[in-house]
């Protein structure tokens, strides 16, 4: 019986690599469903056959736990996202443009739906730029759309996930990795669903996540690990 | 015998109402006659079950097709219907249209498909689609289709209106034979008095939705003959008494007189109906021997009507009652008066049966 994972879209790439390693190692088949976290919650409420839910935030696993769908003591942060301000034009100085509000559109994820969005709003609040920029915001439903707004040049700059820029050559002008003190950590939590709590495959996968190889994959994709953040603080 | 008993009262959209309570004969051809808009099509549609009518009664050959609310569905009524417009299926070729009928033909002996196609002259058109046919060609295919369903009543709504005279002359006798031999009744809507008098055994005359007259064609012939007052005619029932192949004539006995008419292959004893147009009857005081007019019948003047364009003379002739239309000048010249004895002359070639 395959292991069914529901994974927030932004974590697709690292999870794919992790699953590959896991399957090779254990022979256990894994099926990954990608999607928006909110959708997974609705689906889990209505009998979706998932075993573990890797959310894009902390609120949703908690809500599932409270609604009685999550197994107690299985909520745990599996990765921490990093926010970046980015422009597709290599000649743009993103920090300067943000300060002067001299752009047409600023892309960010919808703060109601995506933690990257609320993080971006916090950054703007910290920098006192909300009023100056709000009329120029364009919001993506998720961080992927936000990235596309910027990448297609329709928004001159935007708050994207650092993980989205991994492997793409950048310079110091058009990319600003936002200091973590400007926004609350974007902790992405997972939860095991109650009906799957006893499955050996679930346990095996959670164990595997603790190993070095998957942890390396996560950091390589631009995420931090909870322990490392703690260390950094 | 497929007698048709009808009783309906059918209002159509406010201003028109068709009221018919009648019995139509179960064999032969019944002509339905009436002005444009008098309800002929509506009557045929009711009989076919296409025009619903609350509370009507329709009994065909003893079988109730409708009685009050119980109504036999149209496809369970054994009718062949030639619509006033040809109404071929546009998605089928002429052949497809015919096959549609022959595949579903009612059981029983039926005329040969090949014969029907030949008679109607549509053999070369079979692969064409309706939009590739001329008006008359479409109508002929529609007639063939209605015959091929092998119905027990034929409903024909001006089937020959789109056809040329020659074609009509070919099809008319065929329909006549069909009605006589297969013994299915035929309701035949037409505007043509000559078609009517030639074909119909019995007639139903509609006027503004009401039955104006009905009965055997000889019974209604006076009304029918006067239905177009300017072109009156008389109908004489007759029986063939002799056949003269040499002269290509037959001699028929009508009332007390013998009349000659063209031989169209009639056998002795056959009953025929002669239509004598009033304008074809001339009058003479003496009986002329040196003219080409074969039929010279002693007669007595019964009545004289003055019309806008001449005199209409009602005659008691030895051949039966006859109308003669003559000019006022001739009437004066002959000093015509009621009771006068004279001779009615009828060209045999002007006689049709």
């Amino acid at each position: 019986e395959p292991l069914n994972l529901a994974v927030a879209s932004n974590f697709a790439a690292p999870m794919q690599a992790i699953i590959k390693g896991f399957e090779e190692k254990t022979g256990q088949q894994v099926r990954m469903s990608l999607g928006a976290s909110g959708k997974f919650v609705a689906q889990i409420h209505h009998g979706a056959p998932f075993d573990i839910f890797f959310s894009a935030d902390q609120a949703k696993p908690l809500a599932l736990l409270e609604a009685g769908y999550g197994a107690s003591d299985t909520v745990k942060t599996y990765a921490i996202g990093s926010l970046a301000l980015w422009s597709a034009n290599p000649d743009t100085d993103v920090r300067q443009q943000l300060q002067q509000a001299s752009f047409r559109k600023l892309a960010l994820a919808n703060p109601k739906l995506a933690p990257y969005g609320s993080a971006a709003v916090s950054v703007l609040q910290q920098l006192n730029l909300v009023d100056a920029t709000q009329s120029k915001w364009v919001q993506g439903e998720n961080i992927a759309q936000t990235f596309q707004f910027v990448q297609s040049g329709n928004a001159e700059l935007g708050f994207v996930a650092l993980s989205q820029l991994i492997g793409k050559a950048q310079n110091a002008r058009n990319l600003w990795i936002i200091p973590t003190n400007l926004y609350p950590a974007i902790r992405q939590d997972r939860v095991v669903l109650k009906k799957s709590a006893q499955k050996p495959a679930v346990k095996a996968f959670l164990d595997y996540l603790q190993q070095a190889q998957p942890r390396q994959i996560i950091t390589k994709h631009g995420y931090a690990l909870p322990e490392e953040v703690k260390n950094a603080l | 015998m497929t007698k048709i008993e009808l009783d309906l009262d059918l209002p159509l959209g406010g201003s028109f109402r068709l009221v018919v309570a009648s019995q139509l004969p179960g064999r032969g051809i019944t002509g339905i006659f009436g002005h444009s808009g008098s309800g002929k099509t509506t009557l045929l549609r009711f009989i076919a079950g296409l025009q619903p009518c609350k509370g009507a009664t329709l009994i065909v050959g003893g079988q109730p097709w409708q009685s009050g609310k119980q109504c036999l569905a149209p496809h369970k009524r054994s009718v062949g219907y030639v619509f006033q417009e040809a109404s071929l299926f546009p998605h089928l070729s002429a052949k497809g249209n015919l096959d549609y009928a022959s595949k579903r033909a009612w059981p029983g002996s039926s005329p040969l498909k090949r014969d029907i196609i030949e008679l109607l002259g549509i053999g070369s058109l079979l692969n064409r689609y309706p939009h590739q046919l001329s008006g008359g060609e479409r109508q002929r295919v529609a007639i063939a289709r209605a015959l091929l369903i092998n119905p027990s009543i034929l409903l024909m709504d001006e089937p020959l209106a789109a056809l040329d005279e020659a074609r009509k002359q070919e099809i008319l006798p065929y329909l006549q034979t069909l009605a006589a031999h297969i013994a299915i009744p035929m309701l035949y809507v037409t505007h043509s008095v000559s078609e009517l008098s030639r074909l119909a055994d019995s007639v139903l005359i509609l006027d503004k939705g009401r039955v104006k007259a009905q009965g055997d064609i000889t019974q209604v012939s006076e009304m029918l003959g006067l239905s177009d007052p300017l072109h009156p005619f008389s109908i004489l029932p007759a029986q063939v008494s002799e056949v003269h192949p040499h002269w290509k004539l037959v001699c028929v006995k009508s009332h007390k007189a013998s009349l000659w008419l063209p031989d169209t292959g009639l056998a002795v004893k056959t009953k025929v109906r002669l239509i004598v147009q009033a304008k074809d009857v001339s009058l003479s005081i003496s009986a002329h021997q040196d003219s080409s007019i074969l039929n010279i019948v002693p007669a007595r003047v019964d009545d004289i009507h003055s019309q806008t364009d001449g005199m209409l003379v009602k005659l008691h002739s030895e051949a039966g009652p006859l109308w003669a239309k003559i000019s006022l000048r001739s009437a004066e010249h002959l000093q015509l008066h009621s009771g006068q004895a004279l001779y009615a002359q009828i060209k045999s070639m002007a006689l049709s049966q």
């Binding site: 209505h46 | 109404s87 549609y100 689609y129």
Partner: protein, 232 residues
């Protein structure tokens, strides 16, 4: 760029779904459209509108409501469980139900229009030629509505292939089972695998173009006469 096995699975699943859904849609819509085209009842208007109504909600939201209905606590779910079918969401047949609901108007409407245009006369003629209601339908209405059926099938098929909001919601994006090409392309785009997305999109476009064109030519090749009732 060759496809990965997941893509292949998604393509196969999509074709299967689109074919099944189109078939079911035609089967459901034909009587519905026929009834709408023939009835004089006052409920004709409301029913027509109700058929089109799901369109005004975003597909994901429709999916959400379908999920509630078909879930273990929903009335449909209770029924399917009682009937021994089990639960529909997250199964192929769940996708079928969802797609059928959502694409229904695109199939009913062209059929309804085509059927209304047939008019009474050909049916009357067929009735006098001894064809009962069913026969009339199959021998007259169907052939005269060929163009309408073609349109209905094309719209139904294409819309099912492309639709993903409903399918994502009630399907759960499970590989081999409910992951369709549309979802797969969406995933590729979301995961920023653009070249993969382009490739799959182009394939879908070319493939659908060929399928639809073939369907179209096939229908148009036979004498197309529907609607042209008479020429002089």
């Amino acid at each position: 760029m060759p496809f990965n096995p997941e893509d292949m699975g998604a393509i196969w699943l999509t074709l299967k779904l689109a074919s099944v859904v189109t078939l079911i849609l035609l089967i459901i819509s034909t009587p519905l459209a026929w009834w709408l085209s023939q009835t004089r009842s006052w409920i004709k208007g409301p029913i027509t509108v109700i058929v089109a109504l799901p369109l005004v909600l975003p597909p994901t939201v429709i999916g959400f409501y379908l999920l509630m209905l078909m879930g273990p606590n929903g009335p449909v779910g209770q029924f399917t469980q009682a009937a021994g079918i089990g639960l529909l969401p997250f199964t192929f047949w769940g996708l079928v139900v969802g797609s059928v609901c959502y694409s229904l108007p695109f199939v009913v409407q062209p059929l309804y229009n085509a059927m209304s245009a047939v008019g009474a006369r050909p049916l009357e003629v067929a009735a006098t030629l001894r064809a009962g209601p069913w026969e009339r339908f199959f021998t007259v209405v169907l052939p005269l509505c060929k163009t309408g059926f073609l349109t209905a099938a094309v719209l139904g098929f294409a819309h099912t292939v492309g639709e993903f909001g409903v399918v994502l919601m009630i399907g759960g994006n499970i590989p081999q089972e409910t992951r369709l090409v549309s979802v797969q392309i969406y995933d590729h785009v979301e995961a920023l695998n653009y070249s993969q997305a382009h490739w799959l999109s182009a394939t879908m476009l070319v493939f659908s173009f060929v399928v639809l064109l073939a369907l179209y030519s096939l229908t148009a090749a036979k004498k197309s006469v529907g609607g042209q009732h008479d020429k002089d």
